[in-house]
Amino acid sequence: MDFVLFSTLNGIIYGLLLFMVSAGLTLIFGMMGIVNFAHASFYMLGAYIAYSLAKLIGFWPAILLAPLLVGLIGVAIERGMLRRVHKHGHAHELLLTFGLAYVFEETVKMLYGNYAVPYSIPADLRFPAFTLSGADYPFYRVFIGLTALVMFALLFWLLRRTRVGIIVRAAVRRPEMVGALGHDVPKVFMGVFGIGAWLAGLAGAISGAFFTTSPNMALELGIIVFVVVVVGGLGSLEGALVASLLIGLLTSFAAGADVALADLGGLVGLGPAMKAIGGIFTVKLATIAASVPILVMLVVLLLRPSGLMGDKT
């Protein structure tokens, strides 16, 4: 029972963290039609900038300011680079973001070295939020989850309940029409790109202190975030939330599950035979927990190519 409770909580909070990074990616895709390969780099930049700033201005100001700086970097990239190559088509934009991801990674390595930097949460934040049958549940973990929830609420309200949101959603569907109505579509794109980068930066600044801040963090999270966006449906914010939670929970439960295919076979009497064959039949689910999201993506792509909530075909 404890295990189920812990796994659920851990899964939800990891899922919410994934959502913070994937929200920007899915919005940018929905709007500009490009997969931003440098998106996970914004997550990394958020963590590194917050780490540097925290030493100067303290932890809280740092995690507020760092995402803003990352947002500005995002704006600069859209304004100064993506817009220039836009007329050459998607392939060029894709290659540009791909290259940027490398540039960011190598820059971080040059400035901070190859190893993880000691960015961690202040000691006075290191207290348990509550205790569940003997094990503490860290407050900071709850804080990560709450921040993500607030962000989702804000984004949802902005997109669904405000005039800005209407223009943004319209620009996603029919940019030419919105332009003809007198709105500055490039500026809308720039704004969305900036907000996406800001969100990823925020996720990095907050979770980099809890997990690790290393030059590999973009690479490690990047793949999962793409999976989330594909599973949720490219361009769908709600889809990203559902997919993030789904993948967070699945990873969490898979890590704790001591079952193999042979155990399933055992239900119909095939157990001993499958164990004798070995190989894939005896691989425990816990062993391949990190690959579960990829399997989910395969299944979703086969059954529902537009993603769980994607409406484009």
């Binding site: 993880a116 930097v117 961690s120 094990a135 860290p138 690479l219 969490s252 890590a255 062993t287 690959s291």
Partner: protein, 416 residues
């Protein structure tokens, strides 16, 4: 880049062509280090490479070999076997007679097999594979061959020493949790942990393998550790997998002691913070060990390379020192280098490291070496990662006590 490489090859061939009719020309000993110098694995690869640079510099300071300085060629394998296989061809084309790599066991398996085949097809132009850190046991067991030398530890050597030291210091506990990465190295660790924990009279209550350096959140595994009631966690995890594991254990308020093999990777203690205190580390060297010769070595290393040899560096330094002793046993009188003679000399060579003798066991070409056990403590002499913690030496395990019998699976075919 391409052009310079081409030019270099052209020049080398030309020189060779001109020199050949004139008869014997001293062959320069070239050692190729094929390591991950970029990408995620570079953090380990660079440390090993720095040790190699220092080691080769020392060989040259002592007069080089065959009348010439020993040359170190560095190749970036980009972290994978594919890159390594390509770089091996380049290294052989450049005239390397000793090839080395350290970190990835997947790379090591590829290079070992490629070199075995190369040597079968190129008798008289053999290449020695001088591995300084890949731990997968199969390399000196099922896959052992005459040209492969493992100049570092393997999981059995490390876990045997670790578990015994923890038992003697009464910190092993009764119930052990075994968590490792799911590839050759981690699987060997799981087996070694099961074996030596049982020998120590304790129980492995549960063991799990997980994906390698992909997991962001270890709390599900921590929930399992908690449920098992283990007092000690033994793991061969490295890089992010150990940092995140310690953090998750500490954040859950779980009171377990960790025994590990890679806590000394820079950034690990800085990230884990006070949560790491009391953890045990088993490693080839500890900065506090070795008395005056040890002190002289680490200070000299710091002067030449810029920092203390605090993680993987000593392995490649000590390995090249042993190679230096082997080279003293052969003399090619300024002619061609005979790799077979060097390999046979390696089997006979002995070198006294600051903590005890190093030698190669002829049966499986596993180096027999002393290793050190340390505890993460505030009382350590050398603090790391700008924290107030470091690795306090617990004990040095002498070479013969650290050694584990050769695998019966190793059927080495020696050249006639």
């Amino acid at each position: 880049m391409q052009w310079t490489a081409m030019t270099r090859i052209a020049v080398v061939t030309l020189t060779a062509a001109i020199a050949a009719p004139g008869g014997a020309k001293a062959e320069q000993l070239k050692i190729a280090m094929i390591e991950a110098l970029s990408g995620p694995a570079a953090q380990t690869g660079i440390a090993f490479t720095e040790g190699m640079r220092y080691g080769v510099d020392r060989l040259n300071a002592a007069g080089g070999f065959n009348g010439q300085p020993v040359k170190l060629l560095e190749y970036d394998n980009q972290g994978g076997p594919t890159g390594a296989a390509e770089k091996l061809k380049a290294a052989i084309a450049e005239g390397a007679r000793i090839v080395s790599s350290a970190s990835s066991s997947a790379v090591a398996a590829q290079l070992s097999e490629d070199i075995r085949k190369h040597n079968l097809r190129n008798v008289g132009k053999e290449v020695i594979y001088f591995n300084v850190g890949s731990e997968a046991y199969e390399l000196t067991a099922e896959k052992c061959h005459f040209w492969f030398f493992r100049m570092g530890t393997n999981p059995y050597v490390r876990i045997k020493a670790l578990v015994r030291a923890m038992k003697d210091n009464n910190v092993l506990g009764e119930k052990i949790y075994s968590i490792n990465q799911n590839y050759s190295y981690g699987q060997d660790h799981e087996k070694a942990q099961a074996q030596f924990v049982k020998e120590a009279g304790a129980t492995v209550v549960e063991s799990v393998l997980h994906d390698v350096n992909k997991i962001q959140d270890f709390s599900p595994y921590v929930a399992k550790i908690k449920a098992s009631g283990a007092q000690t966690v033994i793991t061969g995890n490295w890089a992010n997998d150990i940092i995140l594991l310690i953090k998750a254990v500490g954040d859950a308020g779980l009171k377990v002691r960790i025994g590990n093999t890679s806590l000394d990777t820079p950034g690990t203690l800085g990230n884990a913070g006070a949560l790491a205190l009391g953890s045990y580390l088993v490693k080839i060297y500890n900065l506090e060990a070795g008395g005056a010769p040890g002190k002289a070595f680490i200070e000299d290393f710091k002067t030449k390379i810029g920092h203390y040899p605090y993680s993987e560096e000593p392995t490649s330094v000590f390995a090249t020192a042993l190679l230096g002793e082997a080279l003293k046993l052969v003399n090619f009188k300024g002619g061609d280098i005979d790799a077979k003679a060097v390999a046979l000399a390696l089997e006979k060579a002995k070198w006294e490291s600051p903590v005890g003798p190093w030698s190669v066991r002829a049966d499986d070409h596993q180096v027999i070496l002393p290793i050190t056990i340390s505890e993460v403590s505030r009382a350590a002499t050398y603090k790391v990662d700008t924290t107030d913690m470091g690795f306090k030496l617990v004990r040095v395990v002498p070479a013969d006590a650290a050694a584990v019998a050769p695998s019966p699976a190793c059927k080495m075919q020696r050249p006639g």
